[in-house]
C-alpha cells in the first residue's frame, strides 16, 4: 500500500514534468529549437499566482486564469522578440539566446521579488484521501486528474483540429507547409502560447506541491522536464507524456526506497542508460537526412 501511494505521488510529480516537457517537445518539433527559457515560465506562472492571490486578493480560479494568460503573452513575446529574428540562424545561436532569455527572466524575477523564497498560497483545498491503508494527497490527485484531462484535450487538439494539423505539417516541413498556404509565424506563435499555458499550469501545481517559489525555482523542473522530453523522444508528444511520467515515478520511488540525496543522480543515470540503447528516446523517430 505504501508502494501504491508512492507510485501515485510519483505519477503526480511526473504529470507536472510531463506538462513542462510537452512545451519543450512541441516547440522543438515546430521551431527546431531548445527553448531553455521554458523552465522559467513555470516560475513566472507561479509568481503570477502569488501576486494575484496575496496582493490582489483574487479567487484561486481567477488567479490561475491570469497566470496562464501572463505566461501565454510572455511566451509569445519571447518568441517574437528573441527567437523569430534568428529563425534562419545556426542552432547554436538560438540555443545561446534561449539561455540568455532564461537568465533574463531569473534576474528580472530577482529584481522584482528578491532572491528569497516566497511561500506559495494554498490553491488546492482538497483533503487527503484515505482508502484503507492507501493514502492519496489531495494535491497529488488534483494534479494528476487535471494533467490527464489537459493531455487528452491536447492530443485531440493536435490530432483533429485544423490548427493541430497545421502544427504537425509545420513540424515536418516548414517550407512545404508554407507553400500549402499555412501561416508559419502564426502556427509557431500558437505553439509557444500552448507550451507557455501548460508551463503556467505546471507552475501552479509545482508551487502547491512544494509550497515555496523563488526566482530560480523554474530551472530544476525545467531541466528535468527537458530530460523527460529527451527520454521520451524529443519532438514526440506522447513521448513527452511518457517520459515525464516515467521520470516522476523513478524520482519518487528512488526517494522512497533508495536515497533522497541520490534520487536526481538516479534519474539522470536512467536517462544515460536509455539513451545508450535508444539514442532517439523511447518514442523518438529516426532522424531523417534532409536532402
Amino acid at each position: 500500500m505504501d508502494f501504491l501511494s508512492n507510485l501515485i505521488s510519483g505519477l503526480s510529480l511526473g504529470s507536472i514534468y510531463a506538462l513542462i516537457a510537452l512545451g519543450y517537445t512541441m516547440v522543438y518539433g515546430i521551431a527546431k529549437m531548445l527553448n531553455f527559457a521554458h523552465g522559467d515560465i513555470i516560475m513566472v506562472g507561479a509568481f503570477a499566482v502569488i501576486v494575484c492571490i496575496n496582493t490582489c486578493g483574487l479567487p484561486v480560479w481567477l488567479a490561475a486564469v491570469v497566470s496562464i494568460l501572463c505566461c501565454i503573452v510572455l511566451g509569445v513575446l519571447i518568441e517574437r522578440i528573441a527567437y523569430k529574428p534568428l529563425r534562419r540562424s545556426a542552432p547554436l545561436t538560438v540555443l545561446i539566446t534561449a539561455i540568455g532569455v532564461s537568465y533574463l527572466l531569473q534576474s528580472v524575477a530577482q529584481l522584482v521579488f528578491g532572491s528569497e523564497m516566497h511561500s506559495f498560497p494554498k490553491v488546492i483545498s482538497m483533503p487527503t484521501i484515505q482508502i484503507g491503508e492507501l493514502t492519496i494527497k489531495g494535491n497529488a490527485l488534483v494534479t494528476l486528474v487535471v494533467s490527464a484531462v489537459i493531455m487528452v484535450v491536447l492530443t485531440l487538439f493536435i490530432g483533429k483540429t485544423r490548427m493541430g494539423k497545421a502544427m504537425r505539417a509545420v513540424s515536418e516541413d516548414k517550407d512545404a507547409a508554407e507553400l500549402m498556404g499555412i501561416n508559419v509565424n502564426k502556427t509557431i506563435s500558437v505553439t509557444f502560447a500552448i507550451g507557455s499555458a501548460l508551463a503556467a499550469v505546471a507552475g501552479i501545481f509545482y508551487g502547491s506541491t512544494y509550497g515555496f517559489i523563488g526566482p530560480y525555482t523554474g530551472s530544476m523542473p525545467g531541466i528535468k522536464a527537458f530530460v523527460a522530453a529527451v527520454f521520451g523522444g524529443i519532438g514526440s508528444i506522447p513521448g513527452a507524456m511518457l517520459g515525464g511520467l516515467a521520470l516522476g515515478i523513478i524520482e519518487n520511488l528512488s526517494k522512497a526506497y533508495i536515497s533522497t540525496e541520490l534520487s536526481d543522480a538516479i534519474v539522470f543515470g536512467v536517462l544515460i542508460i536509455v539513451l545508450l540503447f535508444k539514442p532517439t528516446g523511447l518514442l523518438g523517430k529516426k532522424i531523417k537526412e534532409k536532402v
Binding site: K165, D173, D175, V291
Partner: protein, 278 residues
Amino acid sequence: MMNKTKMVPFPSHAIVPERDVDKMPVLDARNLGMDFGGLVAVDDFSLLIGRTEIAGLIGPNGAGKTTVFNLLTNVYHPTRGAILLDGVSTEGKSTAQVNAMGIARTFQNIRLFSDMSVLDNVKVGLHNHIHERFLSAVTHAFGYTKAEKKANTRALELLDVFHMADHAFALAGSLPYGAQRRLEIVRALATEPKILLLDEPAAGMNPSETLELMNNIRKIRDEFQIAVLLIEHDMNLVMNICEGICVLNYGKIIAKGTAEQIKHNPVVIEAYLGNKGE
C-alpha cells in the same frame, strides 16, 4: 490534341505572333530577375500563361527552372521584375499569401508530410478553406466539428478524382512512389489554386506511370479549369501535353512556342546538344 480556341501561352514576347493574344492571362511574369550575390540565376524572364493552359518550362540542368518556381511562389523575392496573378501583384506577399492568391506547387524531391495520413495531407492543403472557430474546435474536439466534416468530405472527393480514396488512412510515407507523387498533386490542388506548378512530376516514373500522369494533368486542367506550368525533362511528356513551351538556358529564355516550333528551333537544339545532350 491542341485546342486552337484555347487561350494562348506566350503572346507578349511570343515567337508565334499569329496566335491570339490572351486578353486575361492568369499569370503574368514581367522581366523577372534574380541575383545570388554576383551570380545572375535568372534574368529577364517574361511569361504569360492562359487561364486553362498547360505550359512547359524546359532547359538543361542548372538553367534556373526551379529558381523560376521559387520566384513565382515568393520563396525567393525577385531582384527585378514583377509577378501578376490575375492582374494582382504578388510583390511583398509571403509564400503562404501567394498560395492563398492561387499559386500551388509540387516539389522535385517529394515533400509530403510523411508521418501524417494521406487524408490529413490533403486537409493541410485545405487549411485556408476550413473555417472553424477556435473555441468550437476545442469543445468539439471529441467529435468532429462541422468544418472538419466538410473538409473530410472535400478531401475524400479530391482523392477520389485520382483514385486514392482507398488509401486515405494510410501514412503518406508508406505509399508507393507514384502514389506519393499523385498525393503531392492532390494536396496542392486542395489549396484551390488558379495555377498549379509541377516540378519534374514524371521524375523517376516508368513509362506507364508517365502515361497516367499525362492523363492526370489533362484531367486537372479539364475538371478544375486551372492552368498548369510544369518543369520536366521527359520530352515525350512535354511535347505531348504542353500547349506552350518555354526554354530556359543559363537563366535566360532562349525560345518560346508550340511543341512543333520548339522541336525544330536551332537555338534550342544547340542548347541541348551543346551541353552534350540531356
